[in-house]
Point group: C2
Chain length 388, copies 2
């Protein structure tokens, strides 16, 4: 029998290859996106999981609201109003599997194939992947120490339909978006009819200065889709996050989300509702913040001690990672491959760039590195850099 | 300040409105898609959940394979080879949140905006929604008592890029696809370079004749994306299903899935791996099959008794629902609304049609209806129909 072609979609064909690099999936110094699992309140958590799995209410056997359970959405709304200055009611909350799905839903609800979107340059590559998959045209806009350069964005593409930003702790360079940039971004969005996708990544972990309220809370025109995740505060394999929708978009987002995967799983919504309401969540975040702050100080000290001022450190004021800039001649991908062979996990900064103006550096996670490991890991890093 | 438009995507704007009809979300006679939760082995299940939540392995705190855990994929592959004649290895399995996400991933990996897709007419409206959202052009192809009419599909659109089918128990009319139609469909796909999306919905529950092996198992050319779900065998709010991919497509599906939501949640994969390996799953399916068979017989008997041969019954040989055809002048949506006011849940068949050739009928679920409830519920149905 003759045989037809094996066509895949143009969108899928255009996505960069999925390469399971060792630094993505390994544990230890300085693996990225990993939490202090040794300090996770596992007993409290597993007691709640056990309790909720024994008493599944018959309604948990039904299909239900694509946004998630009412109780969980109320709990998230209360938390976000208090902790992040987000302007929201439970009706606007949609439970998702994490920031990635939230961006996917937003793109499909708001953007058409060919729609232009501002992205932070450098930025998180999975964000550009999901927007490419939705058919968007990516407009990389440079960031500086005030976050996304809005004037430059307007110069590059005033008519963009959306901007994706990580204002609390820019991923990966770590800047906090300044107040004036926030207002400038909101003004542009309102004037031009664009949407802002605010990924409030790492907002729970700020050291030094006071926490900064969300962009969403500043917005008087409902232009912001606010996104948050429990991947960093609890653990990533939980796959739970949330988005806050402008009231007039709720119905369309519901329709889109229902078509994509109907509704989110039940058990962990019930568990986390109790975990938050009983105060375990804020206790855990406070404790984790202290732990990450110590790890960060240890890491910064060790880097200064080994390298002096020659390697600039960026973005250490928040979150669970910082960036060490490398001299131009030191290729970060090559260094990361060498290091991986010695079980030292370095995420190359250069992979975070979409455009040509690429800088070499290392994104170092300190979420799951113990204080004791840090000095020797930094010594090994120094030795490796010297071989380059 | 002047204000720009509030544009949403054309795809989102085109989706039919999300209308939370009472018959979708209510429990009792004859709600659809509901399992016999009163017979669910909750103790065994919750013990496994409790155990796995106490002993989370550190690796569960990491990001991992977008396909799901190795152990779970091995378990699913073994089950599908044995129970469904599916030709597969663990590498080809991708764990998803259910059939809906599996179709979404398939559409985005394989189809372009404008790609034509055969859909069963009548069919499941959420399937047409997810394909529309991916930009596909829907080609409704009529079904008869042998399933999808392949010759008619070829006549309507020979060049379609894919066909979506539910060969085990056509949703909603309930036909099992005949062997000759299966071969005809596979031949067309191979000749024309099309993909077949096989949603093996309700395959676990067959009464009467022997189970029929999957289309995927018949396919010698790796043209079939096989989809299954635990929503019907366990419960829907678990949000767990799986797909079996042609080996040469695995890498692209991985890339697409990673961009969409990175990877599936951990806990229930571990729980279900044990639940299946320890034999609880097949025991539960056997018991549930007996229960549904009894409920089905009770329902068919009650319908025959009340209506005689005047209302034809379709699709009672498998699954957890059957269809009662209504006379043309009896409008099913109107009937369903009236019934809902009396807490009787009827799913109108007419909503399952994309084209104009619409038939009136009722899709009656018997998954969560007890034997005792059935006769009186059917009497109430008869009384309601008489008022129309």
């Amino acid at each position: 029998m003759s045989s037809g072609p094996r066509l895949i979609s143009r969108r899928a064909a255009a996505l960069r290859a999925y390469a399971p690099q060792p630094w993505i999936y390994s544990r230890g110094a300085f693996s990225l996106g990993q939490v202090a699992f040794d300090h996770f309140p596992l007993r409290v958590w597993s007691n709640l999981v056990a309790r909720h799995s024994r008493i599944i209410h018959p309604s948990a056997f039904l299909y239900s609201d694509p946004r998630g359970t009412r109780d969980f959405r109320e709990t998230i709304a209360t938390y976000l109003r208090t902790a992040r200055g987000v302007n929201c009611e439970a009706d606007q909350i949609m439970v998702v599997s994490g920031s990635q799905q939230a961006i996917d839903i937003s793109a499909r609800a708001l953007l058409d194939p060919g729609s232009q979107v501002w992205l932070e340059e450098p930025g998180y590559r999975l964000t550009s992947d999901v927007l490419s998959l939705a058919g968007c045209q990516l407009i990389p806009v440079p960031v500086d120490d005030e976050g996304l350069n809005v004037a430059e964005g307007i110069r590059l593409c005033d008519s963009a339909r959306a901007a994706y930003v990580t204002p609390s702790h820019q991923l990966p360079l770590g800047a906090t978006m300044s107040a004036s940039r926030r207002l400038q971004l909101l003004d542009w969005a309102q004037l031009s009819g664009a949407w802002i996708i605010e990924d409030d990544y790492d907002s729970e972990y700020r050291y030094g200065n006071m926490p900064i309220a969300s962009l969403q809370g500043l917005d008087r025109n409902s232009r912001v889709i606010y996104i948050g995740t429990f991947s960093k505060t609890l653990f990533p394999s939980l796959r739970l996050g949330y988005m806050v929708l402008p009231p007039d978009l709720v119905e369309r987002f519901l329709t889109v989300r229902r078509a994509m995967d109907i509704y989110p799983p039940y058990l962990h919504q019930a568990v986390l509702t109790d975990f938050i309401r009983q105060g375990h969540f804020s206790r855990h975040v406070r404790r984790a913040r202290r732990i990450y702050m110590e790890r960060r100080s240890k890491l910064v000290d060790a880097l200064r001690k080994q390298f002096g001022p020659e390697l600039p450190i960026l973005g250490a004021e928040a979150g669970m990672h910082l960036v060490v800039m490398l001299p131009k001649e030191c290729r970060d991908v090559e260094l990361a491959k060498k290091a991986a062979a010695e079980k030292l996990w370095l995420w190359p900064l250069s992979l975070s760039y979409l455009g040509r103006n690429v800088r070499q550096g290392l994104i170092l996670g300190f979420g799951s590195v113990t204080d004791a490991e840090i000095p020797s890991a930094v010594r090994r890093l120094k030795a490796l850099i010297e071989t380059m």
